[in-house]
């Protein structure tokens, strides 16, 4: 049976790229294959075994901070140069260990995506972890980002949008990344005593980037009021909370009533924030914002308004339940039209290379992270809370293309003795391969060149 364009779209656009045999195995019912991945039982992912929980990470962070503080004090107290050096190297080692943990965890998440029998689910995980961006540009987050994906994102991808928003907002990685853990109500007991005040970073970005969107109808005053509401939402550094890593510090919370989007929130501690997040999740602006991003990710950089409208309606009608939203997405005819409408991000490109070649288990953790580095998309390191762009113009420039070709060459060098280029072409881009690409791959001077060209081709660079 000849695999169809629909199979290619299911595997490449909705999934993370073809593995050997995918086109043949899935060609009878590509849409049904996508649907089957929306079953929470099917996607229980054992490959995350051993990944530290959020509470483990918070404990490690606390021990780490205590050790460093002690080492700094000890170093300051001693006059002996040898001891000073010893303390300095202790701090350095702790930092290296954090970096190594990050590298190991990114590699583990990468392998989980590559090995997964549910790549559509894995793509949705990556969509949402990018929507709720946390980033190691805040160094303390190195230890927390993988736990963020494990505990705030993955359990909610097939759940409800509000629950994911709630989990993300409470998570220590987000509290650190957008500065909320040390935002104090200026009139709170702790704020008064320590002379500390508001930081409005998280409040603004929740409205602008996680829910309503920038034109979602809020003002600077709403940002400030929501920042007051969120005071006290912090990290469970002392182990006083419910084991999730979150703690509500009443002494840090701004007292009094607040007015947000025209609604008065009477003083009610942590419940004010809970209610505000609920209201954001239910706001029609949020439905529109999420629908637009989803359509941009799965259809085109400038998605058709008709598709956005259908997704928006599905989001609202189902009160933010995500599985019916994905079902609507799969049913959109616009998503099945142009098989090469989207450029793969570097992340997509790397995962599709690893799936095509099945070499992820033979590549060192450091080299896996190195590939992302090379293409400027190291996981959890977006340079802004808006996350990575989903538009071709932000990913394809002269240098970016050279880096992609170089990575294609790296893979070709590694695997050219094990694969027949023509067969690899069929198993990765067969249903949509153009005459130009077939010509290039069959006429290349060597298997290595042929595979470099295959992985550099428009059909492999797009989805």
């Amino acid at each position: 049976m000849v695999a169809s364009q629909s199979t290619f779209i299911a595997v490449t656009r909705f999934g993370l790229g073809a593995k050997q045999g995918d086109f043949l195995n899935l060609s009878s019912d590509p849409r049904g294959w996508l649907e089957s991945q929306l079953n929470p039982q099917f996607v229980q992912n054992q490959t995350l075994n051993g990944m530290p929980s959020t509470m483990d990470a918070v404990q490690q962070m606390r021990q780490d901070a205590q050790m460093k503080k002690q080492a700094k004090q000890d170093a300051a107290a001693t006059m002996d140069e040898g001891s000073k050096e010893k303390f300095a190297s202790m701090i350095k080692e702790a930092n290296q260990e954090m970096s190594q943990d990050y590298v190991r965890q990114v590699a583990q998440l990468t392998r989980a995506s590559v090995d997964s029998p549910a790549p559509f689910f894995e793509r949705l995980v990556q969509f949402w972890r990018n929507h709720f961006t946390v980033s190691i540009t805040k160094e303390q987050d190195r230890i927390l980002v993988a736990a963020f994906e494990r505990d705030a994102i993955r359990p909610n991808v097939l759940g409800n949008f509000h629950d994911m928003l709630h989990a993300s907002t409470r998570h220590p990685a987000m509290q650190i990344y957008l500065d909320n853990f040390h935002s104090f109500g200026p009139n709170s007991p702790a704020g008064q005593r320590q002379d500390k005040g508001l930081n409005e970073n998280l409040a603004r970005e929740i409205m602008e980037l996680h829910t309503l969107g920038v034109s979602g109808g809020y003002t600077q005053n709403d940002v400030t009021e929501f920042a007051k509401i969120l005071t006290g939402w912090t990290i469970d550094a002392q182990g006083q909370g419910d084991g999730s890593g979150f703690f509500f510090a009443q002494r840090q919370h701004e007292p009094g009533s607040k007015t947000l989007l025209g609604v008065t929130y009477n003083e009610d501690g942590v419940n004010e924030g809970e209610q505000a997040l609920r209201a954001f999740a239910e706001n029609p602006s949020t439905a529109k914002f999420i629908a637009t991003k989803l359509a941009r990710h799965f259809i085109a950089d400038d998605p058709p308004a008709s598709a956005v409208a259908k997704l928006q309606a599905a989001f609202s009608k189902n009160n933010g339940d995500l599985v019916p939203l994905y079902r609507t997405l799969i049913s959109l005819k616009e998503a099945w039209e142009d098989p090469l409408a989207k450029i793969k991000t570097p992340n997509d490109f790397i995962l599709s290379l690893l799936r095509a070649t099945n070499v992820a288990d033979n590549i060192e953790d450091k080299k896996i992270v190195g590939m992302y580095n090379m293409l400027n998309q190291r996981p959890f390191s977006a340079s802004s809370p808006a996350g990575w762009s989903d538009k071709a113009s932000d990913w394809i420039g002269a240098e970016a293309l050279l880096q992609r070709i170089d990575l294609a060459r790296f893979f070709a060098r590694a695997i050219h003795t094990q694969y027949d280029p023509a067969g690899l072409l069929e198993s990765t881009i067969g249903p949509v391969a153009s005459e130009d690409t077939r010509f290039a791959v069959t006429r290349a001077g060597s298997a290595q060149e042929a595979i470099t060209l295959l992985f550099s081709s428009p059909e492999f660079q797009r989805r």
Partner: protein, 412 residues
């Protein structure tokens, strides 16, 4: 598909080597000569400071009697800046800038902003780069539209430093990108095969052609792949002084090539100092030092071309005047911009100072904007790049005819 790999001396030498076989000869039938004589000899570099720079501590208005009180706790102390005049100073880490200010090659513009008045980074950067009056009403960049005024000669005049092109340079006119990279161009055979492979994919084909054009100039001067390796690949971390210096030296060489590009963008992030931003030391001070290193390296590497150069460094908006609850600053409105280069009529701080005291703050929290950044950009386009004012107002900064370019920024 028209444009093919750019024909510079090096690329032609490299490519002709490969024409031994029949396939290669047919593939290159489409080569055309580009990088002919450029229509403009002036250089312009736009440095985009992403994240909202705190202009009040970059160019502190120390003479404003409210500066210390309004900035409670994060105001620079009197030993943290050097005076530029009897009212404004420059942060100590802007030493190269201050030096150029004294020799008349640099100026600052204070209390300047784009027309955008909200506080979203991403919308504000969209306005800064698109040149529109609101976010997302124009899809291309003002610098690309300026290049379009050179007609077909505008192709290959623009260069984005980085792996991809920022919105400011995106648009109809072809623009190259360059970043220090470890491997340079693929070999000739591969290039020719790629050229054919991409012939029906405009996006990839254009990127390939631009890569060949720019690398032909850059690679020769920089010790090739080995020289680049230690700079860490993509050259993305311009907040590191050493990376900044080496990257900018290479940019200076590319812009010095007689047939090379004339107009470039450089992006530097890390200005979003919500917490612990510091005064004489800290994240803001470190970023200013990296930027200042870039200023100095541009001057040095452009050599004789510096006298024909203008550099504009600007950010999307400023930060709150008062510090927030975490010894940082939140999103604000007006900031400062830097203008430097041998063609700049420097040695002054251009401002209509709104004041920091009493009721002078915008929405009771931010430095009030009194100059529109487009007044500065228009002056550069019209007085430095010699573009026609009517065309600039019609095509680059649409509907800005009421907004006069500031006089006296560029040497006559």
């Amino acid at each position: 598909m028209k444009s093919i790999i750019k024909d510079t001396t090096l690329s032609r030498r490299k490519l002709l080597k490969g024409v031994g076989c029949l396939a290669a000869a047919t593939m290159f039938s489409g080569i055309r000569v580009a990088f002919a004589s450029a229509p403009v000899d002036e250089r312009f570099i736009f440095i985009i400071l992403r994240g909202a720079m705190d202009g009040l501590n970059a160019i502190p208005p120390y003479g404003d009697t409210s500066y210390q009180t309004a900035r409670n706790g994060i105001a620079l102390g009197s030993s943290d800046y050097q005076p530029l005049d009897n009212f404004f100073g420059a942060h100590n880490n802007l030493a190269s800038f201050a030096g150029m200010f004294k020799t008349g090659e640099a100026l600052a513009i204070q209390a300047v902003a784009t027309p955008y008045r909200e506080r979203s980074h991403f919308d504000a950067q969209n306005v800064l780069e698109s040149g529109g009056v609101q976010p997302h009403i124009i899809n291309d960049g003002w610098l690309n539209r300026a290049l379009a005024l050179y007609g077909s000669q505008g192709d290959s005049l623009g260069l984005a430093v980085g792996q991809t092109i920022p919105l400011a340079l995106q648009g109809k006119v072809g623009v190259g990108t360059w970043a220090p990279s470890a491997q340079g161009l693929p070999d000739d055979t591969m290039l020719m095969a790629l050229d054919r492979l991409y012939q029906h994919d405009t996006l990839l084909h254009t990127a390939l052609a631009q890569a060949v054009g720019v690398h032909s100039i850059a690679d020769g001067d920089l010790g090739g792949a080995d020289g680049m390796k230690k700079m860490g690949g993509g050259g993305k971390n311009l907040q590191n002084k050493e990376v900044m210096e080496q990257t900018v030296q290479a940019v200076g060489k590319i812009l010095s090539d007689p047939k090379g590009p004339r107009i470039a963008t450089i992006e530097i992030g890390g200005w979003d100092t919500h917490a612990q931003q510091g005064t004489d030391k800290g994240p803001l001070a470190n970023n200013l030092a990296a930027l200042d290193t870039g200023f100095g390296a541009l001057r040095d590497s452009l050599g004789e071309h510096w006298k024909k150069t203008v550099v504009l460094a600007a950010t999307e908006f400023g930060r709150t005047v008062a510090q927030n609850g975490t010894s940082g600053t939140d999103h604000g409105t007006a900031s400062c911009a830097f203008l430097l280069g041998g063609a700049v009529n420097g040695g002054k701080v251009v401002a209509q100072w709104p004041g920091l005291g009493g009721n002078n703050l915008y929405q009771n929290r931010d430095l009030a904007p009194t100059i529109d950044l487009r007044q500065v950009a228009k002056a550069v386009l019209i007085n430095h790049l010699q573009l026609d004012q009517t065309m600039v107002e019609k095509n680059v900064f649409l509907g800005s005819s009421d907004l006069r370019p500031i006089e006296g920024l560029i040497r006559a």
